[in-house]
Symmetry: C2
Subunit: 259 residues, 2 copies
């Protein structure tokens, strides 16, 4: 049950501050939204789960079905939920389609899309560097699990990448056999740790290949590479994974759609 907008509005008109919801007016549908998000953060609703029907939720929260609908529509617009007429509303998953069209932006010169395969070079648990602490929001002295891998498209190596996550948050990850690390790590974070990645910030720049890059990609050192510095955030907007990719863009491009 949530505070009604009417009551909230009235209490705001009064001269006394409204302690019941602190910062003032907050629409019902946003209060409901906060609650839904919290249930995804908590793991009560996990990726792929089916939500109760609109009427069921409305009754549970003591609001109208139209208000719940507004909440669900917003969450669907943010790709946190998927709605299907006749079937129901589901928590979004990092299935191959979503990975391909939403989170992976390298496309072929001809516009073709495919996910690269991965070969893990190393997987270590070690003290976080100061950059890693900063980007991942870790306390000084924290450990990270660091994965290095080479990714191929059409059997040609095109990406070398370094991935860092909190060792505390992903404690089991240091023990998984490297050959069992999946290509799509976000799916793993979801399934094994209940962590939903829903947002990422990517900083792109052009850099020269160093000797290691050159060796892994089979090119000359000094050639230009597309560097992608990605911080992936969870539903509660906490940083989860920091990934640095260097990509050969002779046969591929990074596609950024605006609007």
């Amino acid at each position: 049950m949530v505070e009604t907008a009417k009551k909230t509005g009235k209490s705001r008109d009064a001269k006394l501050p409204d302690l019941s919801d602190g910062i003032g007016f907050r629409p019902l549908y946003k209060q409901v939204k906060d609650s839904f998000i919290q249930q995804m953060v908590n793991g009560d609703w996990r990726p792929g789960d089916k939500l109760p029907s609109e009427f069921e939720l409305a009754a549970r929260y003591g609001v109208s079905q139209g208000t719940v609908r507004k909440t669900l529509d917003e969450l669907a617009a943010q790709n946190l939920l998927v709605r299907q007429q006749g079937r129901g509303t589901f928590v979004a998953t990092h299935n191959p389609d979503r990975a391909l069209f939403h989170f992976f932006h390298l496309v072929g010169d001809d516009g073709s899309r495919q996910l690269p395969t991965s070969r893990v070079l190393s997987r270590v648990k070690r003290l976080a560097t100061s950059d890693e602490e900063k980007r991942l929001g870790l306390k000084p002295g924290s450990n990270v699990i660091c994965i290095e891998r080479v990714r191929e498209m059409s059997a040609i190596p095109v990406i070398v990448e370094t991935i860092a996550v909190s060792a505390k948050r992903f404690s089991g990850l240091a023990k998984v056999p490297v050959e069992d690390l999946p290509n799509n790590l976000y799916e793993l974070y979801e399934e094994k740790y209940g962590v939903i990645i829903y947002q990422a910030e990517e900083y792109l720049s052009a850099v020269a290949a160093d000797a290691t890059d050159a060796e892994h990609l089979g090119i000359e050192p000094g050639l230009p590479l597309q560097q992608i510095d990605r911080l992936a955030l969870s539903v509660d907007r906490r940083p989860v994974e920091w990934r640095m990719s260097r990509c050969l863009t002779t046969q591929h491009r990074y596609l950024s759609l605006i609007d």
Copy 2:
């Protein structure tokens, strides 16, 4: 006045094909949306214009205010309209804020945002290359207006770019004094030609600076540059401008937010 959903639905249940709206069911609010978009394409509603109120529009189209609201909310979500409580609904413009946060993605290493200044190197009208014909969807033998410029941030040259638009569509543009070409060309397209840019596809890759790049940017040839190949589309999804930018990413990054 538009076809009601009820009627459309019923006519679809009948065995005979429904000729009245061709491809079958189309929700009222989408029919209204099509009409609104058409009015922006036609130039009946120009950037900055205030729309009639929801009730006024509802009466005009013979639908309820809630249906108009759904249309307006969708268009606002697409950044085609801007809604302001108490003031009204307006056609979106390419004001500096929008340009800075929505269409220009180079940010400082420290996360700072600023628009670069522009210095035009050349502005010519000439036959389109086959690439330009293809990207801009021009008939063979069409002319383009081509602008080359260098852009600076904090008085340091960081971008060299080549811009091509249809000479037919932007006929006056060949005669504007080059010193009067504004930094924000999208604003010019809006104001002088009624063309609203609302979407862009950017293809990013890392390239080596050639001799010309190097000269304009004051760097050594061969250094890596961030290339941005951008096609800007109008409200009716027709290509309007093709722009090729090469950027120095030593002090800056291209920021891509996912979700």
